[in-house]
Subunit: 183 residues, 2 copies
């Protein structure tokens, strides 16, 4: 089906906090129906990094997550700062969160979270050829680093503290990229 | 590492719109460091459904997504209504979005989106043994339904309109569940 995108008739900010901005959009669909949607906007996007210690082993982090109010296991990630490109942001984040830099960074595509109401995009970056290099981050407590075999994602999915869609998607995409879907 | 979760010293709503509620939390980590985090709260959670037309074929939908302002391909999904359980919500959503009910619904776990700042949870449900049954939904235009082989996720990842982390994670988890990780 090839239909044209709804026309955006108006946009306005309806709520704002330190981190979040809620925008209301008046839309007109190609069939003439008019509707009003809310969405979260703002930010330069984020990076989600798969740092490979060797051909099989990815470094996961476990840290407190305020949204779900519990410790969560997942890929290292962080916001892209103003003026920073995707690969530099990825390299900086792994220096801060796992204590390694990477000599080979490869973008594997952009992930949306809940495209219906979040404008947010996370760029997945594969980081290979690592070397020890730690840069201080702004975390309130030490981040736990957990090496995991990308051939063993089944057992990872069974862990109670591993729930993040972005990390699950990212790890399967990395496995697909590195192993061609074969386990 | 087994440390205790930060203590929540205070919580307050700092912004609110029709759909979103932003909460500020004052936290004290076990090392004594105090910090303040914002997060989005509210809602009963959502369901994300993999409706299987046969052992291989999942039904995807393609609809306009206001967050990213483009058409997005992904698994059918929707909010859990007040008083509704997870499996009933899943069955209702596929009746509305793909025109089938299911005689065999299986919960495959809960997914978080961005646990650092979203409280939101999506429950992944496998829907098998489908039968035609359409219930009117509240979509502004007809939803396009696209059958896809779960053995061919590699080609799906190459599509420009397929970016949603939740759907990517869900499809790999369903493939892992049904085929045991083998393609």
């Amino acid at each position: 089906m090839n239909r044209s995108k709804p026309a955006v008739r108006a946009r306005r900010t309806v709520a704002r906090s330190r981190l979040f901005q809620v925008e209301e959009m008046d839309l007109e669909f190609s069939n003439g129906i008019r509707t009003c949607y809310e969405r979260l906007v703002g930010g330069n996007g984020a990076v989600l990094i798969a740092p490979m210690l060797d051909a099989d082993t990815v470094l996961l982090i476990r840290e407190y997550a305020a949204g779900t109010d519990r410790y969560e296991l997942g890929l290292p990630k962080g916001k892209i700062e103003a003026g920073e490109d995707i690969l530099s942001a990825a390299d900086r984040e792994i220096m801060e969160e796992v204590g390694y830099g990477s000599r080979r960074l490869t973008g594997l595509g952009a992930l949306s979270l809940a495209p219906g109401y979040l404008a947010h995009t996370s760029h997945l970056v594969l980081a290979e050829d690592l070397y020890p290099h730690r840069v201080p981050g702004d975390e309130p407590e030490e981040i736990e680093v957990l090496p995991w075999s990308i051939r063993d994602l089944g057992r990872l999915l069974e862990r109670e503290d591993f729930s993040e869609a972005r990390s699950i998607a990212g790890l399967f995409m990395v496995r697909e990229h590195l192993l061609g879907g074969k386990e």
